[in-house]
């Protein structure tokens, strides 16, 4: 184009002489560019954070599962609350061999997700357990032993009252009458004489005749992920043991998710106090002004009764003394003191929170399990019968950086053998035996989905009372009293765990539901690399005739993985709308500027400028403006991101902790963000100037004539 130099000169001069127009259009372009830079950089940072959260906690880079699965894999929970059907992968060892041979694949980690109830026996069960240990150690006569005996007597009294009350509501009272008779015997002096002489025999009696009446204790729903725990700890970088120890290689064991424990298992009053504490310290919320906190504070105060019941007599006494001193209250019972302690407001909360954990915390059971406990996991196997497994709690774990995220509590970890037991994989002999039993009792086959629907009902709360849960079980499988006692073996038997260890081969050889594919560290770059690897792994499993679907971490994580896509869509929409508005404004002001310049354009045409020159003149003017304000805008955007990266964006909610992969997002930007923003703004400039430029080219040379 001839006269390009003069075009730029004219563009700059023209911009300078139409200052208001240039300023308006320029600032729109500037903010538009800054928005694109900030928006895309933030989004990419969130995506990278989310990728960290998901891939380093549960999913790995890729996931494989049954290609004929009815539901899409949702590692962080799907719609059906554990009833999702992911099909199964029958022969994991083969899958592992095939996929680990694919270049770029570092490891394949077996997995299986399920939902079980966890129980640890009632208060009575646990007291009996402790007494049995004391009897074995010969310390029953000691101070602690006597405290246990005192508690036992109290619990038996409570149970008696409970049974007598429930008897009034029953038609068939034979069973209850027998239980009450046993309890009456246990309350007699003769029994305690026997107890002193032979504690073990007395405990056996209590275990088999009295404890069953006390029910199962509290049941908790627990979502578990069965896996190769050694591999898991190795390849999922965010995994950290919080308390206790990892499950030793070749042993069965449960690791409880600390986040799950804190938000679901922990004693309600403590959970509420924690919630208030977090909201106040992290988000600066106030009980007086935040309606949710006001409600929680009120609820806390109403829960004093639950605490006094949990205190042993001597603890109750000590607590009362200490509370009186701390609160400066001289009269009233322990209950009134506890109520006073738990009556919190903005002024006293910090002090009361500390008092609760100093004075009460150590004396009550904050969590329904302790590290080292053996708990019973029960789940409906896919064949529709209930399976119980006793498993030791080795410890608790967290995903580092994601502690505050509810999503990081999505699964607890068990070894793969326990998973298979709960899943119901059996040897051929076991299957035959089961079939025989079924025929004998005439139990119909119950579909897994139906069973779980009935089992879990519609209630999403993790905690159910034993009585409720068993009520539901009874509808499914009405037990005779014989069966019932079979289902509830003696305390000693119930707490037995298998001492059998397993070899690595045994663990890998068998069914899993899905498997995580970990890519080589240096290959784990962008989404593109992962997609290449996904296609390669899919090709390898297809070639080996394995019926597997290979999906990336995003697809495997469930709804949460789609989050960034949705946000990206919203952002693009927002940017689109902003740019359409910008387009209209730029178009209008350029059109007006063009109309103001008709004489000048006519003059140029009259002295010999071609239409193309005029068009270029108008376009270059916008382009120059776009380039200048776009560069400034990209600079501004880069500045904002740098500043955000410096101070960090606080994750103010649980979901943000997960998306940010930590308590703060420190976004970064790359050249691509600046480039994309510049290209976008230049395209917008060109589009918005197309029409004014067309109008300008239509100006006739005669229009130079006439009055100024």
């Amino acid at each position: 184009m001839r006269g390009t130099g003069i075009l730029f000169r004219m563009a700059l001069r023209s911009l300078a002489s139409h200052k208001v127009k240039s300023l308006i259009v320029g600032s729109i372009m500037l903010f538009g560019t800054a928005l694109v830079v900030v928006g895309t950089a933030l989004l990419d940072s969130v995506e990278a954070g989310m990728q960290q959260s998901i891939t380093k906690s549960l999913s790995g880079d890729l996931q494989m599962y049954d290609s004929e699965a009815k539901d899409d894999l949702a590692l962080f929970g799907g719609m059906a609350m554990g009833a999702d059907d992911y099909g199964e992968v029958p022969d994991f060892a083969r899958v592992q061999t095939v996929v680990e041979a694919v270049p770029g694949v570092e490891a394949v980690v077996p997995m299986g997700i399920g939902l079980a109830t966890m129980s640890r026996g009632s208060e009575l069960d646990r007291t009996l357990d402790a007494l049995r240990q004391a009897a074995r150690a010969g310390t029953i006569a000691g101070e602690q032993g006597q405290a246990l005996v005192a508690r036992l007597e109290r619990l038996i009294d409570l149970l008696r009252t409970e049974l007598i009350n429930s008897r009034a509501l029953l038609q068939d009272t034979t069973e209850v009458d027998a239980q009450i008779a046993s309890i009456e015997r246990a309350r007699g002096d003769a029994f305690w004489a026997e107890f002193a002489a032979d504690p073990v025999a007395a405990l056996d009696f209590l275990d088999s005749k009295v404890a069953p009446a006390g029910g199962e204790g509290l049941l908790y729903y627990l979502r578990y992920l069965g896996t190769d725990l050694d591999q898991f700890a190795r390849y999922f970088d965010r995994f950290r043991i919080v308390e206790g120890e990892p499950v030793p290689t070749g042993h069965r064991g449960l690791l409880i998710n600390q986040r799950f424990a804190d938000s679901q298992l922990k004693l309600k009053v403590a959970r509420l106090l924690d919630d208030i504490h977090d909201a106040m310290t992290q988000n600066g919320a106030r009980i007086a002004t935040d309606p949710a906190l006001t409600a929680k504070a009120r609820q806390v105060a109403s829960l004093y009764g639950a605490i006094s019941l949990m205190l042993s007599p001597e603890d109750a006494h000590a607590t009362e003394t200490e509370l009186r001193r701390a609160l400066g209250i001289t009269d009233g019972t322990l209950d009134t003191l506890l109520e006073a302690l738990l009556t919190v407001d903005d002024a006293n909360f910090a002090e009361r929170y500390a008092l609760f954990y100093d004075l009460i915390g150590p004396r009550i059971t904050l969590y329904p399990y302790r590290v080292g406990d053996v708990v019973t996991l029960r789940a409906w196997t896919r064949r529709g019968y209930m399976k119980s497994v006793n498993v030791k709690v080795y410890g608790t774990f967290k995903f580092e950086g994601l502690e505050r995220s509810e999503l990081s509590g999505a699964a607890n970890l068990v070894d793969l053998m326990t998973f298979r037991d709960l899943y119901g994989q059996m040897t051929a002999a076991q299957e035959e035996e089961l079939r025989a039993i079924r025929e004998e009792v005439g139990l119909e086959h119950v579909g897994r989905a139906d069973a779980e629907a009935a089992f879990f009902g519609g209630d999403a709360d993790s905690q159910v009372t034993g009585a409720e849960a068993f009520g539901t079980f009874d509808e499914m499988h009405p037990p005779t009293s014989d069966e019932r006692s079979d289902e509830r073996p003696s305390e000693a038997a119930r707490r037995t765990i298998t001492d059998e260890t397993f070899t690595r081969e045994q663990m890998l050889d068998g069914v899993v539901l899905n498997a995580a594919v970990i890519l080589d560290r240096d290959a784990q770059g962008g989404t593109g690399d992962i997609e290449v690897a996904r296609v390669r792994v899919q090709a390898a499993v297809d070639a080996a005739g394995l019926k597997l679907k290979v999906v990336d971490w995003r697809a495997a994580s469930g709804i949460i993985g789609q989050f960034v896509l949705v946000v990206r869509g919203v952002l693009i929409l927002a940017i689109g709308i902003i740019f359409i508005v910008a387009l209209v404004i730029i178009n209008n002001s350029m059109l007006m500027a063009t109309l103001e310049r008709v004489r000048e354009i006519g003059t140029l045409r009259a002295i010999g400028a071609q239409r193309s020159f005029v068009q270029a003149m108008v376009m270059i003017e916008t382009l120059v403006l776009g380039l200048l304000s776009g560069t400034a805008g990209a600079g501004l955007g880069a500045g904002i991101i740098t500043w955000m990266g410096h101070v960090g964006l606080p994750a103010t909610s649980d979901i943000l902790v997960f998306l940010f992969s930590g308590p703060r997002l420190r976004p970064t930007f790359g050249a691509s963000h600046l480039l994309i923003a510049l290209v976008v703004i230049l395209i917008v400039s060109l589009i918005s100037t197309w029409y004014p430029a067309r109008i300008a080219t239509r100006v006739q040379p005669v229009e130079a004539m006439g009055d100024a």
Partner: protein
């Protein structure tokens, strides 16, 4: 009709043959020129006179190739303008013609030098030094050297018209059109502009065609064509004495 030319053997540089120009005005058409036959020789210095609305500007626009006739033909250097495409007409304006506007029509965002340089840039082909030399020479000729870097709004009317003349002449066109070049100037300044045009005509043999109301200005022409209602009513050498305007 007779032609006044110093080189009678040469073909006329501008020829109008039976030219009419009608302007549409709603459903009506306004006849601006009605059958003009006119031949202009190379190097002539010719004034178009006539009352307001007689068609002077229309005639200059047709010769200046910023418009085409409704009927008849306009030939510039032997080329019929009605047969040329738009880009060719534009190119003709750029290379062969120069325009001096009544209202100067300088590009406000460019300074004196840049305004004068503009047609050369549009033409292309000259080296930067050659171009700058030509522009400087032109500025010298119109006596604006001290104002070289000034913008049009920093100049007087006479200075602006001199810039316009320089811009029209810098490409060394064969024909220069000037539509009432002195109408917006006081008589002294107007006289100086006419003198400048005469000087260039004498030295470079550039053909000048200008319209005017001013009898004094007419008297400088070598040939005077008078229009009334779109027709040529007289074509003669002007009176050498300044006379009152009007017929």
């Amino acid at each position: 009709m007779t032609t006044h030319t110093e080189t009678p053997e040469a073909a006329p540089i501008v020829e109008l043959i039976g030219v009419t120009k009608d302007y549409p005005l709603g459903k009506l058409t306004v006849p601006a020129l009605r059958g003009i036959d006119l031949a202009i020789a190379r190097g002539d210095f010719i004034a178009i006179a006539g009352p307001s609305g007689s068609g002077k500007t229309t005639l200059l626009n047709l010769v200046g190739c910023v418009d085409v006739p409704t009927a008849g033909a306009v030939r510039i250097g032997g080329q019929t303008t009605g047969e040329l495409k738009e880009t060719q007409l534009t190119s003709l304006r750029l290379h062969k013609l120069g325009f001096i506007f009544q209202t100067f029509n300088l590009v406000g965002v460019l300074n004196v030098f840049q305004n004068i340089e503009l047609p050369l840039l549009l033409q292309g082909g000259l080296s930067k030094t050659e171009r700058e030399r030509r522009v400087a020479e032109m500025i010298e000729k119109v006596d604006l050297t001290p104002q070289t870097r000034q913008r049009p709004n920093e100049l007087s009317g006479g200075q602006r018209q001199r810039v316009a003349i320089a811009r029209a002449l810098v490409t060394r066109p064969a024909i220069v059109m000037a539509d009432e070049p002195t109408a917006n100037l006081d008589s002294g300044t107007g006289g100086a502009i006419i003198e400048l045009m005469k000087e260039i005509n004498r030295v470079d043999h550039t053909t000048f065609i200008f319209s005017t109301h001013d009898a004094h200005v007419m008297s400088h022409a070598r040939r005077l064509v008078e229009l009334v209602d779109g027709r040529i009513v007289s074509d003669r050498a002007p009176d050498r004495q300044a006379q009152p305007e009007g017929a």
